[in-house]
Amino acid sequence: MLRKLEFVLRRLLTSLFVLVGVSVITFFLSRVVPNNAAALYIGPRARPEDIQRVSIQLGLDKPLPVQYTIYMRDLLHGDLGTSIGTKRPVLQEILDRAPATLELLFTGMFLATMLGVPLGVLSARWQGKPLDVAVRAISIVGVSMPAFFLGLMLQIIFFRNLDWLPLAGRISNDLRFTNPLETITHFLVLDALLTRNWIALKDAAIHLVLPAITLAAYPIGLIARMTRAAMLEVLEQDYIRTARAYGIRDVIITYLYALKNAISPTLTVIGLTIAFALTGTFFVEIIFNWPGLGQFTVRSLLNIDYPAIMGITLFGAAAYVVINLVVDILQAWIDPRISLK
């Protein structure tokens, strides 16, 4: 137990260094890009004296190391600065949008795991058979198909042609008049569950389907292929052959014995994919007009809104670090052979 705690603390400390490193790189990179933040803040018609005033107001007249120190000091107080584009606190902008992004991310990755792992297992179990070929083909399509194309195709098929699923957005606007959803956590599916608003629950859930599938397509392929490879290796082990000789049911051998030992590399991939999918979510959000961090990120980048870029980057880096930490702990928990050292 103590070892585990020590491991977590050590990883947290390392993560802190990573975050500081990210903040340094992002801060200095965003400042060396040729632009005038004060002029951007005040608008194109600003007079030179106004730009000068805003420069002082934003602290841009100070040397870069001093600016960075001030930024980090404010960061420790939970202040990520004010967005140049929206004139609102960056932290607030992120907090307003993060639940939508995380809801989509978690759903997509849940879907990817729930589909990718069984598909990988099936593929390995039926190696060389038509099922294996089909799964491998699905994997390749999933990995190689661009999200914007898949999203568009899904919209055309399931909204325009079949009218089964909504086109875009997070929840139907009509609900505000018929079954308004009380937001508690800002995760709409969860909120609908908590408030027992079943109509809103169904609505929020069906809005998630297409963006979640689009987001999950790549990880499904990746996870399926990784699971297949790991399973193939494990299924060749002596203890599996022994289990079969004992007449143990195939399902038990595959899912209980083999998968447990094969899941470790898959878990690593899932962890990395979640972190990767966080930025992938931004593209999917734009296709499905999902009100998460995607639109805000794109706008911030286009406007060189450096406080917003800093905030989003730190948010992404923190998410990456936390997800990897959780995966490491999970791996150790599932497979005791892995040392926490």
Partner: protein
Amino acid sequence: MNKKYIFSTLLMIVVLTLSACGPTTTATPLATQPPAPTGIPTPVPPRVLKIANTATFTTWDPVKSFSTEAAYMGNMYEQLLRINPPGSAEKYTPLLATSWETSADSLVWTFHLRPNVKFHDGESLTAEAVKLSIEAAKDHAGASFIWAYALDTIEVVDDLTVKFNLFYAAPLDLIASSLYGAWIISPKALAAVAADPNYFEAGLEAGTGPYMLESYTPDQEVVFQRFDDYWGGWQAGQFDTVLVEIVGEALTQQQMLEGGEVDLVTRMPEENYAAFKTNPDYNYYEEQTFFNYVGFFNTLRPPLDNPAVRQALSYAIPYQDIITVGVTGKGTQSRGPVPQGVWPWSDQVNQYTYDLTKARELLATAGYPDGGFSLNLTYASENDIEAAFAPLIKDSFAQLGVDVTIEPMLWSQQWEASKSDPANAQDIFLLLYWPTYSDAGSDNLWSMFYYTEYPFFNLSYWNNPDFNALVDEAIATTVTDPAISQAKYIEAMNLLVDQAAGLFFMDVKYTYIVPKYLEGFEYNLNYPFTQYFFYQLRTTR
């Protein structure tokens, strides 16, 4: 065994996938709800207008507002006057002012305010509120310059009369009807802003307009409710609620319109508009806009400091191809920097034609018979239209032996590069421009080509005293003698075209698709970002 095993695995996949699917209609329609018990009135469902709009808020502060939020500001706030579309019987629609007059020298403008007007926060409209609003705009509006040069003082004559004293005879009626920097704001809110400059940024408003803000979810939706005490009153068919979904993707907007998810959109893929021309369910409008595309030659650097070279290059622009490729033919070749339909546009302003022979002759007279020089051209990479037509310029100039390097840059970087060191900046700068209010003389002409030490939008860095003098004279006579003013503007524009300080590509048209069940839509070129005034719209459903 094996079949069971495959079946159970596949079943899990199928169930997981299908469990989330279902019909798209989720909300229980009010019409199908059980009838209310006798004696209790059935609630009347709100009449809702749904719009998909690309516009987001860069600020909620109506004083600072100088960007895309104008799409909504004009429904929550009002100016003293609204300028009508070109060709209207009356030039202005009185909003918060019912009448106005000017002194003989046009240096004093007196506005009589509409009585019994309430702000959304319950305050009454008074002359003091007008004075405070305009003073705030003059001091720190995003568009403060529209007042700063002309306005001296504002006097409160009585509760409903306000007097503007000017430094020179400026067209105050035009300025007071501006889309930016002319909103009249509740004095209570202005006092709150004085205490906290970010007061509005929490998503607040304090106007007199027909619609009040109900809620705003960043990048998602804006909901407006009708203001019951609106001075204009309410009629059958007008909307109780306006629900705006912020949708950045043009194709998504189109699908939402066709799928019936929204009533109106603001943007569709250009090539897809044509299909609506013959669709019996929609009205199709193709309208002139405030927008035009210009290019600036860097007149500080050789060989572009030579007017003959600039003229030659102006003849080498394939104008019609640019209109076809850039805006799918929805545009007209510009006559100078003033867009068609906006004061002081005139068909007497000259245009260049695409004539490579003439271009070669001019280059030869300038000492460049085979071209032999290179230019770098910058454009805003966010602008798809500029990206589409910039290569046409490169191809055409190449036929003269002039090599063009195209440099797409983020707008902010393109802007910064052009301002920081003009002598070493770009050779050609492409720009989409629009005037702040309906006077492209004191805006487009002055902002883009009048010389000042610190360039405003004069990214040609052109300094022509004759042009400056003509523009000065034209501005000074806009109110007192519009005919003289226009003549001076025409002379100035012809001088500008002749000297070819810039390239004048095209005035852009916009398309609007309005379902036939919506009545009252009236396009107003003067308010390019307020695509829809909700109050005008009525449904026949």
